[in-house]
C-alpha cells in the first residue's frame, strides 16, 4: 500500500445562502497516494470543486483537516501557507491568464513574483513552453490562442513553480473532446517525466477513464465510493457511480450520432 500524500479528514464546509444553508462537504475523508493521478468525479453540486479548493485552502473548511506530506495546512501561518501554495499548482476551467500580457510573460509571471532574474526566467519559461508544445507562440497574446492552447499556457505557468502537486479544477470542461484528449495526454507526459501527484476534478467519466488510476465518486457532499478506476468501472457499487457511467454511455452515443 502506497503512503498517502494528501489526506483529508472529516472535512466539512457549509455555505450560507439566502435561501438556507448549503452543505457542500459533509465530513469527507479521503487519502490520495503520492505520485498518482487521482480523479474526483461528481455531478455539479456534488461538492467536488469545494473539495479541491480546500486542498490549497482557497476555501477554508469549517472543520476537519487537510494534511499534505504530513503537515496540516490549517496549522500553517499565512506566510508558510503562501509558500506551500507555490508548490501546489492549480489549473482552472477558464484558464485565468493575464490577457494583457503575452504568453511568455504569463509563464514568466510566477518566476517574477519569486524574484528570479529576468534572463533565467525567460530561459525557463521558453523551456516550459517547448514542453507544452507552444514553443512558437511565446509572443502571442492569449486572445489569439484557442482554448486548448490557453490551457497549455496555464499548465506551463503552473509548472514554473515546480509544484509537487497539480490540482485540475474542471480543467478540460470548457474544451471539446479532441482537445480534452490532447490536454490529458500532456498531463500524462508531465506526470511521467516529473513525478508529480495530480488531482483531477471532473464531471466527465471519460476524463477519469483516460488518465486516472484511482477515483473517488462524490455525491451530495460525501464520498460514495473510492478505489481503482478499473474496479469502479467494472463493478460500480454506489448509485452515483452507476449514474455517471450511464451518462458516459449516452455521451458516447451522441458522439457517434
Amino acid at each position: 500500500m502506497e503512503t498517502a500524500y494528501i489526506e483529508v479528514h472529516n472535512l466539512s464546509k457549509t455555505y450560507s445562502a439566502k435561501n438556507g444553508n448549503v452543505e457542500a462537504l459533509k465530513s469527507v475523508t479521503l487519502s490520495i497516494p503520492k505520485n498518482e493521478i487521482f480523479g474526483v468525479i461528481g455531478l455539479s453540486g456534488a461538492g467536488k470543486s469545494t473539495l479541491v479548493r480546500c486542498l490549497n485552502l482557497l476555501e477554508k473548511p469549517d472543520s476537519g483537516e487537510v494534511v499534505i506530506d504530513g503537515k496540516n495546512l490549517l496549522t500553517l501561518g499565512k506566510e508558510q501557507l503562501r509558500l506551500r501554495r507555490q508548490k501546489i499548482g492549480m489549473i482552472f476551467q477558464h484558464f485565468n491568464l493575464l490577457e494583457q500580457q503575452n504568453v511568455l510573460d504569463n509563464v514568466c509571471f510566477p518566476l517574477e513574483i519569486r524574484g528570479i532574474p529576468i534572463k533565467q526566467r525567460k530561459e525557463k519559461a521558453l523551456e516550459l513552453l517547448q514542453k507544452v508544445g507552444l514553443g512558437d507562440k511565446a509572443e502571442a497574446y492569449p486572445s489569439q490562442l484557442s482554448g486548448g492552447q490557453k490551457q497549455r499556457v496555464a499548465i506551463a505557468r503552473v509548472l514554473a513553480n515546480e509544484p509537487d502537486i497539480l490540482l485540475c479544477d474542471e480543467a478540460t470542461s470548457a474544451l471539446d473532446p479532441e482537445t480534452t484528449k490532447t490536454i490529458l495526454n500532456l498531463l500524462k507526459s508531465i506526470y511521467d517525466s516529473m513525478g508529480i501527484t495530480i488531482v483531477i476534478i471532473t464531471h466527465e467519466m471519460r476524463v477519469i477513464q483516460e488518465i486516472c488510476t484511482q477515483v473517488a465518486v462524490l455525491d451530495g457532499g460525501t464520498v460514495q465510493e473510492c478505489g481503482s478506476v478499473t474496479e469502479i468501472f467494472k463493478n460500480p457499487k454506489s448509485r452515483a457511480a452507476r449514474r455517471l457511467l450511464l451518462m458516459r454511455e449516452t455521451e458516447e452515443m451522441s458522439d457517434v450520432g
Binding site: L58, M90, N96, E99, Q100, R157
Partner: protein, 224 residues
C-alpha cells in the same frame, strides 16, 4: 465680416495674462487630479471592504459630494472656515481642497466599480500561485482595473478642468476671470470683445482637454 473683437487680446499683455489665467486653472486641476487619482485608488480599495462602518462612512461622503454643488463647497471651505475655525486658507488651497474632496469621492467610486467587476477567480488563481495580498493587487488586479478605469476617469478629469471656472467666485484670477477683466476694461473701445475673447477662452479649454481625451482613446486602443 463683423468685428469679433479679438484684437483686444493683442493689446498690451492681454494675451499673456489670459494664458496666465489658464495656467492658474490648469494648475489647480492638475494638483487636484493627482491627489484624486492617488487617494481615489486607496479609497476604492477600502470601499470594497466588508466593514460596515467604513462602508457607511464612504456612502455618506459620496452622497455629500454628489448632492452639494461645487460652488457651495467652495464657499463653505473658503469663506465659512475662516469665520468658524479661524483658518486663513488661500483661495487656491481652498479650491484644491474642494476639487480633491470631490475627485477622491468620484474616483473612489469608479475604482470600486472597476474592482468588483474583476471576477473572483482572478484573485483565487493568483492566490493559488502563492502570491501575497499586495502582489495580487499590484500585479493582477490593478493592471486590469486601470484599463477599465481609463475612459471613466478621463471623463472625470475633463469635468474637473472645466469646473475650475467656478473658482473665480472665490477670487482666483483664472482664465475666465481674466477674460472678463479684459472685456470690461475695453468696453468702450471694442464693445464686441465679449464674443472674440470668450471664443478664445473656449479654444483654450479645448486645447487643454482634447489631448487628454485623445490620450485616453489611444490607451484604450493599445490595451484592448
Amino acid at each position: 465680416m463683423p468685428n469679433l473683437g479679438i484684437d483686444v487680446l493683442f493689446k498690451g499683455k492681454n494675451f499673456l495674462r489670459l494664458l496666465g489665467g489658464l495656467w492658474a486653472a490648469v494648475r489647480i486641476s492638475l494638483i487636484s487630479v493627482a491627489i484624486s487619482i492617488a487617494l481615489g485608488l486607496v479609497m476604492g480599495m477600502l470601499m470594497t471592504s466588508q466593514n460596515k462602518i467604513l462602508k457607511a462612512v464612504f456612502r455618506v461622503y459620496l452622497e455629500v459630494v454628489r448632492i452639494m454643488p461645487q460652488l457651495v463647497l467652495l464657499f463653505i471651505v473658503y469663506f465659512g472656515t475662516t469665520r468658524v475655525f479661524g483658518w486663513d486658507l488661500s483661495a487656491e488651497y481652498a479650491a484644491i481642497i474642494v476639487f480633491s474632496f470631490w475627485g477622491v469621492a468620484e474616483m473612489g467610486d469608479l475604482v470600486r466599480g472597476a474592482l468588483i467587476s474583476i471576477p473572483k477567480i482572478q484573485y483565487e488563481s493568483a492566490q493559488a500561485l502563492g502570491m501575497t495580498g499586495l502582489q495580487i493587487y499590484l500585479y493582477v488586479i490593478l493592471p486590469q482595473t486601470i484599463r477599465r478605469l481609463i475612459p471613466l476617469s478621463i471623463n472625470l478629469i475633463t469635468r474637473m478642468i472645466k469646473t475650475t471656472s467656478l473658482v473665480m467666485m472665490i477670487g482666483i484670477v483664472e482664465v475666465l476671470k481674466v477674460a472678463q477683466q479684459i472685456i470690461e476694461a475695453n468696453r468702450r473701445t471694442s464693445p464686441n470683445a465679449a464674443f472674440g475673447v470668450f471664443a478664445v477662452v473656449f479654444l483654450l479649454y479645448f486645447i487643454v482637454c482634447w489631448p487628454i481625451s485623445r490620450l485616453a482613446a489611444y490607451l484604450e486602443r493599445r490595451w484592448s
